[in-house]
Symmetry: none
Subunit: 419 residues, 2 copies
C-alpha cells in the first residue's frame, strides 16, 4: 500500500464490553493517527468471538486503507485475534522461529521457566507481511498487507496491554504509517473559561464555516470551552500558518481565553505565580480541599502554594481565619462579607502574597430560601489589602458545582495576577 | 419492546476519533448494562457525520434490541445525533415546549441571559417515545422505540459530557432498562483495601472458577479492589442466596474488606463517625487537600468534618500545627515523627475527636537517597492523646500515589474507629 489516508481502530476484549476497563488504547491509537495525519472515521470494540471479530474486520477493511487491531493476542484459548485476522486476510500462519526463541527468552527473563503449550501459539504468525517483535511481553504483532473482498488494505495487529501496545506502536508501527501518510497536522488548543460553548461558537461561526486550512472547530472538555485550530501540512518543512487565525480568535475572545497551548487552568496559574515569584494560599469551605488539590496535582506547585485552611465548620472560620462571629450571624457563612474576610484572614495567617477563599452551597443540603444550592462566593485578597469578591450561581449537582467553583476561583486569581 | 436482551453502545464525537478524550462513557454504560444483565457485543465510536452515523445506527439496530447513543446533542451545528437518530427511526422532531422552558430556565440559572438560536435546536425533540430531561445541562435525551428495516429496536440518546450522561442514565435510563432486562441481577460489592488485585484473585480463584449462581468476579475500580457477587433472579420474589458465598469470602479476606455494599471508603468513614457522634480533622501535606476533598465529596460530611490544614510549606506545619522546627530539621518533613506531630497539632487546633495527617513524597520531584518517591507517612491522633502512624511505600505516578494515600488514610481512621 503506497498511501494510507484512512484507518480504523478495532479493540478486542470482553473486559472492554463489560466495562471492566476503560479503553485507553483507542484514545492512544486515535491520537497517534491524528498526529500522523491519517483520518479515522470509526472505532469498534468487539469481544473474543471468531464470527463477530471476523465480520468486523471484513466491514472495517471494506471502508478504510488500514485497520489497527489491538488485543486478543495472548496465550489463552480465548485469544483468537491473530488466527481470525490472518484467515480474513487469506494469509496462512506458520511457526515463526525467531519469535519462538524470543518468547523463550522473555519467559526466562521474567523468571517463568515452565512454559505452557499455549505460549507456542503466540509464535504461529503470518507468512506474508512484517512480524513486530514484542519487547515487553510474549505476543508479537504483525503488519499484513492484503486484499479483502477485492479491496486493498493493511491489517496491523498489536497486543492489548498498554505497556506493550504503546512501545510497539511508537517504535514499529508509527514509522510504517508516517512513511505512507498523506500529510501531517499541526494543532493549537484555545482554552476558554466563563463562556458557554454555544455562545463561543456563535462568536466564531463565520471562521468555523469559512476556514479550510487552518481550520477551527470546537473541542469538548469538562467544565471549560476549548477550540482546536489545525493546519494540514504537506511536508514537515512547511511553516506554521495559524498565526493570523489565532490573532483573530484572540481579538474576538481574548476576554475568555486563558491559554492557547497545552496547559490547563491549574498549570497556567502555577506558571504565572512562578514567573512573578508570588505565593498563594486558599481558604476553602464548600470546595472542601479540592481547590488546593487541583493546584497541587501538578509538580512545581510547592514553590508557589504555601497551604490552605479547609474551614468547613464556622468555628474554624472564626478561629483560624478571623472571620468575626457577628459577621457570620448577620450575613451568614455564604456571603460576600464572609468570603472577603476569609480571604483576608487566610492571607494574613499563611503570609502569602495572595489568598483565595471559597464559600458556597454545594448541596444537596444546606440551602435556604435566599441561599439556594449553587450560590457561591469567591474572595480574593492581595498585596496592600486589595480585595475583590465574585458571586456565582451555578447549576448541576454537588460534584459539578464544586468542580466549576475550583475553575472559577483559579481564574479569578489568574486575572488579578495578569491585570 | 417487552424484553431487552442485547444492547450496543455508540459514542458520537470527533474528539473521540481524534483521541483527544478517553471514552469513559463507553466503560460507564457497558458496566451498567452488565450490571442490569443486558449483553453487549459491540461498542462503536463514530464522528459527527450524518451519513456515517446514520449507517452505524442502522447496522447496530439490525443486530440488537437496544442502541445506546451518547454525544452529539449539543447546541452547535456539529451536533446532529438527535436529528439523524430520529430520521433513521422514522420519527419526526417537533419543538418540545417543556424542554424549551427547561433550557430557558437552565440558562437563566447559570446566569446566561442572551440565548443563541442554537439553543432552541436542543428543544426539537422526537414526537414518539420519552423525552429525558437534563438537570445538568441543556441537552435533553430521548428513548425512541422504533422499527428499523423491519427490526424492532429502542434507540436511547443521552448527552456526551459525563456529568450529564451519568445522572441521566442512573435516574431515567436505568429504571427503563431494568424493567425490560431478561432477568434481574442481585449484586453485592465486596470492597477491599490493602491488597493487590492479583493476590486477591488468587485467594478466591477456586470460588471464581466453580460458582455458577451466585457468581463472583473481579470488578475493576480505581485504587481499590472490588469483587462483585451476583445472583441471577428469574423473578423478584426469589430470595437472596448469596449469604454462604459472602460468608466464605469474609472468612478468607475479612482483614482486607472494608465494605460489602454500595458505599465507598469516604462514605463508610463518614457513616461510622456519624454513628459514633465523633468529629475529625485533617492535616495534609503531599495530598494537598485531596483527603478533605474526598470526604466532603459526600453530603452529610459537614456533621463530622470540621476542617483541615493543608500544610504544604514547612512553616505552616510549624506555625499552625505546632510541629517543632528542630523536629523538621532532625527527621525531615517526611518522617514518622512529623506525621505524628502534625496529627496531634491538628487535633488540638481543630478541637476534633480524631485527626489524621499525611506527609510524603508524591514526586516526581522532592526525592532524596533515603526518601524515595512514594514514601508516605500517615499519622492518627485520637482521644487521650492516643496516636499511631503507618509508613507506606507506594508505586506509580504522582496521581496514583496521592489517590492511594487518601484511601489508606481513611482506612487507618476506619480501623481505629472500629477497634
Amino acid at each position: 500500500m503506497d498511501t494510507i489516508k484512512t484507518a480504523e481502530i478495532i479493540c478486542v476484549g470482553t473486559e472492554l464490553l463489560m466495562g471492566q476497563i476503560i479503553n485507553t488504547n483507542a484514545a492512544f491509537l486515535a491520537r497517534q493517527l491524528s498526529e500522523i495525519g491519517i483520518t479515522s472515521y470509526y472505532q469498534t470494540v468487539v469481544g473474543d468471538n471468531p464470527a463477530r471479530l471476523s465480520a468486523q474486520i471484513r466491514l472495517s477493511a471494506s471502508r478504510t486503507d488500514c485497520v489497527l487491531i489491538t488485543g486478543g493476542l495472548g496465550p489463552t484459548a480465548d485469544d483468537i485475534t491473530m488466527s481470525v485476522a490472518a484467515s480474513v486476510a487469506g494469509i496462512p500462519l506458520a511457526m515463526h522461529e525467531p519469535s519462538r526463541q524470543a518468547i523463550l527468552g522473555y519467559l526466562a527473563r521474567v523468571g517463568r521457566r515452565t512454559l505452557t503449550d499455549n505460549n507456542w501459539k503466540q509464535a504461529m504468525l503470518p507468512t506474508v507481511g512484517t512480524i513486530l517483535p514484542n519487547h515487553n511481553g510474549t505476543a508479537p504483532g504483525a503488519i499484513m498487507p492484503c486484499v479483502i473482498d477485492g479491496h486493498a488494505c493493511v491489517l496491523i495487529l498489536t497486543p492489548g496491554p498498554p505497556s506493550e501496545v504503546i512501545p510497539m506502536f511508537n517504535d514499529q508501527v508509527r514509522p510504517y504509517l508516517e512513511a505512507r501518510a498523506p500529510h501531517s497536522l499541526l494543532s493549537h488548543y484555545v482554552r476558554m473559561v466563563g463562556i458557554g460553548e454555544s455562545k463561543a461558537e456563535d462568536m466564531l461561526k463565520d471562521l468555523i464555516a469559512t476556514q479550510s486550512n487552518p481550520t477551527i472547530a470546537p473541542y469538548v472538555s469538562e467544565g471549560e470551552v476549548v477550540f482546536r485550530v489545525t493546519q494540514f501540512l504537506d511536508n514537515s518543512e512547511e511553516p506554521d500558518r495559524t498565526g493570523p487565525l489565532l490573532d483573530e480568535i484572540r481579538r474576538r475572545m481574548g476576554h475568555y481565553i486563558y491559554e492557547i497551548g497545552p496547559r490547563n487552568m491549574p498549570q497556567v496559574v502555577r506558571d504565572i505565580l512562578l514567573d512573578q515569584g508570588l505565593t498563594v494560599s486558599f481558604a476553602e469551605s464548600c470546595t472542601g480541599g479540592l481547590l488546593s488539590g487541583a493546584l497541587t496535582d501538578w509538580p512545581g506547585s510547592s514553590a508557589v502554594f504555601r497551604g490552605a485552611v479547609v474551614a468547613y465548620d464556622n468555628e474554624i472560620k472564626t478561629k483560624l481565619l478571623q472571620v468575626p462571629e457577628d459577621m457570620l450571624v448577620r450575613f451568614g457563612a455564604v456571603s460576600e462579607e464572609t468570603a472577603t474576610a476569609m480571604a483576608r484572614g487566610c492571607r494574613t495567617l499563611m503570609e502569602t502574597d495572595y489568598a483565595v477563599s471559597v464559600t458556597g452551597i454545594a448541596g444537596p443540603e444546606g440551602a435556604t430560601a435566599d441561599k439556594p444550592v449553587g450560590l457561591v462566593f469567591i474572595g480574593l485578597s492581595g498585596p496592600k489589602d486589595q480585595h475583590e469578591v465574585i458571586r456565582l450561581k451555578l447549576n448541576g449537582d454537588r460534584n459539578r458545582i464544586r468542580r466549576v467553583t475550583v475553575l472559577q476561583a483559579l481564574n479569578l486569581l489568574r486575572r488579578r495576577l495578569l491585570s
